[in-house]
């Protein structure tokens, strides 16, 4: 094994990326791809050569009337959104901004998302085509540039959330949506029990909130759509909450400025604090209150401070934690796994607020499908050079 150079490699286009990878594959050199390096999730290898995608950048083609954009994966996600906005459009995905450096490829490969997932789905729902490079330098594509297309296996979606282990995204085609004409944010104080019931009611409401969030103290409901409809939708949600016996007495609308602050704070809050951790628990939305109780209990046992942030309509709850004097986030993690084994389908670590040691069990119990996943990995990257060990110990 060769030692890692200090300067990351920075190809400027797909052809150069392919050439670089082919060389590394020939010498079995491990590679870790990075975009903005804002979501270094999963395990990392100390010996891997860093490959920086930010050279493959820029919008290749924005076809506003066809609602598609083709973009280099090293493009900053925020730059893409700014350019689309000038044409009245956006990618309907709102991952935490993380300092504005996140790249399109990084957002997709990490599967990161924000509250809008409630309405539009995650990156996998919005990617309609991809050009990517396999470990051995093969340039391949899947999908295309039209929204509707069922020709062949949908590998673009497979690469979403694969954390740079199956292939390196170089260019993607995304579906874009019109910027909403109007938006509104409603909020109400809610403990875990109320939040659970309110999220379920909102998820079934014909008022169709595009975001259903709980920050541990209050619910935030987002609405987007026609200006003429906003007031009716707010009233509609209120009526639905009341009909469900949830009071909704203090359901109030935030001013645009206050709403922006609230959504911004919510996005930032999911980053792991220094020395701390962000743990993602996936469960049915109806189990939120149980998760919350388990998190409090785990925190007590482990000697940690925890805060909960839940995409409550989706059943995706993040526990952001730091250890108290003498406590441990590692212990918190294993307590959470123990207490939630029947409630959550997975408890995985996302952000860590430290580098290197201690190495902890990021992924938890091995899922059933891990053997097919490992087979897919072996088939696409037989020498295992792309981010080796990222999903360890599973493969």
């Amino acid at each position: 094994m060769t030692t890692a150079p200090t300067e990351p490699l920075r190809p400027k286009d797909t052809a150069e990326l392919s050439k670089l990878l082919a060389g590394m594959y020939a010498s079995a050199t491990p590679v870790e791809v990075r975009g903005g390096n804002t979501k270094a999730w999963g395990h990392h290898s100390a010996h891997a050569t860093a490959l920086d995608t930010t050279g493959i950048s820029g919008i290749v083609e924005h076809s506003a009337a066809d609602q598609t954009v083709r973009v280099g994966c090293g493009t900053r996600f925020s730059d893409l959104q700014a350019q689309l906005a000038s044409a009245g459009q956006r990618v309907a995905l709102d991952p935490p901004d993380r300092g504005g450096t996140a790249t399109v490829g990084g957002v997709l490969a990490s599967g990161d998302h924000g509250p809008l997932r409630q309405r539009y789905g995650a990156g996998r729902e919005l990617v309609i085509g991809a050009t990517f490079v396999l470990a051995d330098g093969t340039v391949a594509k899947s999908g295309g540039q039209v929204i509707k297309n069922v020709a062949g296996l949908d590998l673009a979606k497979l690469l979403c959330g694969s954390l740079g282990t199956l292939g390196i995204l170089s260019e993607v085609v995304l579906r874009v949506h019109p910027l909403p004409q109007a938006s509104a944010t409603l909020t109400m104080k809610a403990d875990a029990e109320l939040a659970t019931a309110a999220a379920l009611t909102a998820g079934r409401s014909v008022a169709e909130p595009c975001a259903i969030e709980w920050d541990g103290e209050a619910m935030l409901f987002g609405f987007e759509g026609a200006a003429e409809g906003m007031a009716m939708r707010a009233e509609g949600l209120k009526a639905d909450l009341q009909a469900a016996g949830l009071g909704a007495g203090d359901l109030g609308e935030l001013s645009p400025a206050a709403a922006e602050t609230a959504w911004g704070r919510l996005a930032r809050s999911r980053e792991a604090p220094a020395g701390g951790i962000c743990i993602r628990m996936a469960a049915l939305p109806s189990r939120l209150a149980e998760l919350s109780a388990a998190a409090q209990k785990a925190a007590e046992i482990a000697g940690a401070e925890v805060a909960l942030f839940s995409h409550a309509g989706l059943g995706l709850t993040d526990v952001v934690a730091t250890a108290n004097e003498g406590g441990s986030v590692e212990e918190l993690l294993s307590q959470l796994r123990r207490l939630c084994s029947k409630v959550a389908t997975s408890v995985v670590v996302r952000d860590r607020g430290w580098q290197g040691e201690p190495e902890i069990d990021l992924w938890g119990p091995r899922p059933d499908a891990a053997s097919v996943m490992a087979a897919v990995k072996r088939s696409l990257d037989p020498k295992g050079i792309l981010a080796p060990g990222r999903f360890a110990p599973w493969w």
């Binding site: 076809s63 009337a65 066809d66 599967g111 997932r117 789905g121 396999l134 093969t138 391949a140 594509k141 899947s142 295309g144 540039q145 039209v146 929204i147 509707k148 297309n149 069922v150 020709a151 062949g152 296996l153 949908d154 497979l158 979403c160 694969s162 199956l166 949506h177 019109p178 379920l200 998820g203 079934r204 014909v206 759509g225 026609a226 003429e228 409809g229 906003m230 939708r233 509609g236 996936a282 469960a283 049915l284 939305p285 109806s286 995409h311 059943g315 389908t345 997975s346 992924w363 938890g364 899922p367 499908a369 891990a370 053997s371 097919v372 996943m373 087979a375 897919v376 088939s379 696409l380």
Partner: protein
């Protein structure tokens, strides 16, 4: 022969109701909705549980017997065309809706459950299952998963892949596993994403977890008449540019309107050059506002007539007219090819001109039905097989239309799938490397290549050394299949 061993196991496992062996019975499974391709399966089994599917697939694996899954057999690309030396595994006895969880908006169903019955089961809770292929009364959820089926409303709501949370599958070696699950996220690779739309080549779905949506509060539908499809296409562009995402935008050209009216008398204007069906849904205030704006935009785009559905009955009638267009083409001509190409919507005018030039050159009529919102064309290429040479000319025309779609940056198929029908067209869209990469994923699931062989990927056996125009299928040459 090895098929014998599988037959013996199946007979013991499933009993007489679960196995079809007599020649007439076997022949009734010889094709799906693409009736031009036929092959009599070696054996047909009708399991009722995941365990039974698993045992049969494990036996196929052990004895190197190919197997093909079949739902309701409505597929339009020959995906469920049986293997003559293999087993056809039919899911029509796996029809239970296992769970409706209204709070979490999830339905768990067996693969043979029909698409429409999911929405029926969810209706008492104000919920429904969004993907709505025109065949929804009969087609199965397992088939929908395999084909990543769409429907008239996929412009706003997406395709099957956007509504499947998880699938329990029997892998090609007989192992049972779950890809995805009941929750929005599951850790590791999103294998559900490649499984949906994989046309039965990665294994057999035995249970599907579906996301349900609340039924929209309001729906408004109207039909706008235009002098030509090009003008109707411009109206669609104007609606989209105004930031409106209708739940459906469909179009029929003059000839398609004639056929549909003859069959349904749904009230479309016979003199219109094109009819645009626009549907908006959502919260009432939003829906009404966007409806009014869309009508106005159609008027500005020179619509000669606007017909607003006065109520649910008239709305249903409008849709009946649209959905009948396929079958009604039979009134114009004894036989026809249906294509399923996709173009970037903005290329519509140009593509239609090229299609009409080709249609003139070949003296073959083409009726056009489109999902106009997303550029998915369904040209119906009409011909009379009794007239010598017409079949060939129609086939040539149909394949030229597909080539045009690819040239315009589109796709060979928007919803019907590749199957055997378009396997030889895959190289038009994908390079050798692209296809080899897809094959690598397939190999990870099915190294022995026993699941639905000969589908999706071009094979020398099917397509010759180089991809090209139609050649007789090897089974046809062998006399075991005929193309009508």
């Amino acid at each position: 022969m090895s098929l014998k061993a599988v037959r013996k196991l199946a007979a013991g496992l499933l009993g007489p109701d679960g196995v079809v062996e007599d020649p007439a019975g076997l022949r009734s499974y010889s094709c799906d909705g693409l009736t031009g391709w036929r092959a009599t399966p070696g054996l047909v089994v009708l399991p009722t549980t995941t365990e039974e599917v698993s045992s049969i697939v494990a036996a196929c694996h052990k004895h190197s017997v190919p197997f093909v899954a079949r739902g309701s057999g409505t597929g339009l690309s020959g995906g469920a065309l049986p293997a003559t030396d293999g087993v056809l595994i039919v899911t029509s006895r796996m029809r239970r809706i296992l769970e409706i969880d209204p709070d979490n908006r999830i339905a768990v169903v067996e693969p043979g459950v029909t698409n429409a019955s999911v929405s029926v089961a969810a209706a008492p809770f104000g919920l429904y299952y969004a993907p709505d292929p025109s065949s929804q009364i009969v087609c199965s959820i397992g088939g929908n998963v395999a084909e990543n089926s769409g429907g008239a409303h996929c412009l706003k709501y997406g395709f099957t892949t956007n509504h499947v949370l998880g699938v329990e599958v029997v892998l090609p070696d007989g192992t049972v596993t779950t890809l995805g699950g009941m929750t929005t996220e599951t850790p590791g690779y999103d294998l559900r994403a490649v499984f949906v739309g994989s046309e039965g080549i990665l294994g057999i779905t035995t249970k599907v977890m579906l996301r349900l949506l609340p039924k929209a509060e309001a729906v408004r539908t109207f039909v706008a008449d235009f002098a030509s499809p090009e003008e109707a296409g411009e109206a669609v562009t104007a609606i989209i540019a105004a930031g409106i995402v209708p739940s459906a935008v469909e179009m029929m050209d003059h000839l398609a309107i004639q056929a549909s009216e003859a069959a349904t008398s749904a009230g479309y204007s016979l003199e219109a050059g094109a009819a645009l069906i626009v549907e908006l849904d959502g919260p009432r205030g939003d829906c009404e506002a966007e409806f009014a704006r869309s009508v106005e935009l159609c008027k500005q785009a020179k619509a000669s007539k606007i017909r607003v559905a006065a109520g649910e009955a008239e709305r249903q009638l409008i849709w009946k007219g649209r959905k009948a267009a396929f079958a009604a083409a039979g009134r114009l001509s004894p036989s026809y090819y249906v294509q399923d190409g996709v173009i970037p919507r903005t290329a519509l005018g140009r593509v239609l001109r090229r299609i009409s030039e080709l249609s003139e050159a070949e003296s073959i009529l083409v009726a056009n039905v489109f999902h106009a919102g997303d550029g998915n064309l369904h040209p119906l290429v009409l011909y009379n097989p009794a007239v010598s040479g017409e079949g060939e000319r129609a086939e040539r025309l149909a394949s030229q239309i597909v080539a045009i779609c690819v040239e315009e940056g589109g796709s060979i198929t928007g919803e019907h799938g590749v199957g055997v029908d378009k396997a030889c067209s895959m190289p038009k869209m994908f390079s050798e490397h692209d296809l080899a990469t897809m094959k690598k994923v397939r190999d990870a699931f099915d190294p022995a290549g026993l699941a639905n062989p000969g589908k999706l990927f071009p094979t020398p056996r099917l397509c010759g050394e180089t991809p090209g125009p139609y050649r007789p299928h090897p089974t046809e040459l062998a006399g075991v299949a005929e193309r009508f």
